[in-house]
Symmetry: C2
Subunit: 234 residues, 2 copies
Amino acid sequence: MKDWIWTRERKAAPARETLSREQIVAAAMTILDTEGIAGLSMRKLGTKLAAGATSLYWYVDTKDDLIDLLIDEVWGEIDVPEPELAGWRAGALLFGHSLRSAVLRHPWLPEVMYTRPSIGPNAMSMGSRGLVLFGAAGFSEHEIDLALGSVMSYVLGTVSAEVATREMVRKSGRSQESWVSDILEQAKVVAGDYPEMQKSVRRRTSMDLDSGLTENFVFGLDALLDGLESRVKK
Amino acid sequence: MKDWIWTRERKAAPARETLSREQIVAAAMTILDTEGIAGLSMRKLGTKLAAGATSLYWYVDTKDDLIDLLIDEVWGEIDVPEPELAGWRAGALLFGHSLRSAVLRHPWLPEVMYTRPSIGPNAMSMGSRGLVLFGAAGFSEHEIDLALGSVMSYVLGTVSAEVATREMVRKSGRSQESWVSDILEQAKVVAGDYPEMQKSVRRRTSMDLDSGLTENFVFGLDALLDGLESRVKK
DNA sequence: TGACGATCTCGTACGGTGTGCGAGTCCTTT
DNA sequence: AAAGGACTCGCACACCGTACGAGATCGTCA
């Protein structure tokens, strides 16, 4: 059995000024947030910490392990309200928004999240609090798992798509408007024969990207919560 | 403006027996489906086609462009029923299942899907047919976009998570049961203090992975469609 | 004080990656 | 026969993750 990063601790206090896992994680996080996954290499991270690239391997077995730590760091930013505060429905809404904004702050997450299990301490804490929240809604035990999973999947799916378009704008290095109109022009060429698509595209261009994405998110989340609410056993 | 792959065509009939974009895409697809994204390199793909790696660059500008083609290929496998056949609700359910099973057939998709815009011809066709289907439900024009987007995000989010666990089992090279129990044992160590998590974990282990994942998918999709249905303007 | 072992750093090297470039080969058209 | 387009591909470059082992620095104990 592999020994996981989560259960490996520093043996004793460092003898002298050294690197630390926290330091490495923090530096890697700022690289990821500003340059994306493709911008993170061990050599670059080493340089940023004024250290040799391979020094990092004392604190982390592989780059993938480092990314596991970074992902769990994000889960740690999400807050899941206690059900006593405002009840399940409002709590779930808040949870959804918190999850969304965390991913928007760390847009590299969707690209890596689906390639590894999330079993770090923060993921566990978040999951546990989510179960408590959804448990208060009156679902059966089994439905608690299903409902929480649905909401998380919806939120992560929506925000992944959202982040994808935001990131593509950013990477293009151009203004939102100019990028959108470029893509849409292209889409028009390819989709000339699809009038519904053209109409939808025209609808979208007529509104602000930011507020459109937010509205999209809220609309679906509300609908999903409606559907879940009606499943609570009376 | 970048010239997109979608609008670049072969000028004339090939002079002699040559490679072709279709051939390359097909070979790359089987590599992706069997070995995943990490298994696809231009050199390996070249070898598979009995060609030099750099020969491929005649047909495709970059590896990313090739992946764009592959993604659009997947969108081409999804069928979106006409609303006349069974109405919106049944059609949306069918669409969801079709989307899910396509991703299950091509488990590499979530890892790359969120890094680029889907504006290929098949994506356009799928989107257009989706709009037609949801248009028949009685939504306002604006709500059509929102509702379709929500369903797609939910389905892709759910199936991405699903594929992630399935792939991790596969890559571990061990039996489903042994992998699951390993992960759960680890989770237990990390999450000792979270009784709700432990209970949830125990619930999950007591059931078949396959049917559990399917039930999860259907439960949330049904709830979402319920919520959407109640939003149709009367 | 001196020696030992643990902790930590890092230069070098290996085998991989995507792909730019330019030379070379084939086939059609004039 | 000559020209020119269509296509193939070997070489080279810069970059990647990381295994390995030599070295540096420390606390501890004889």
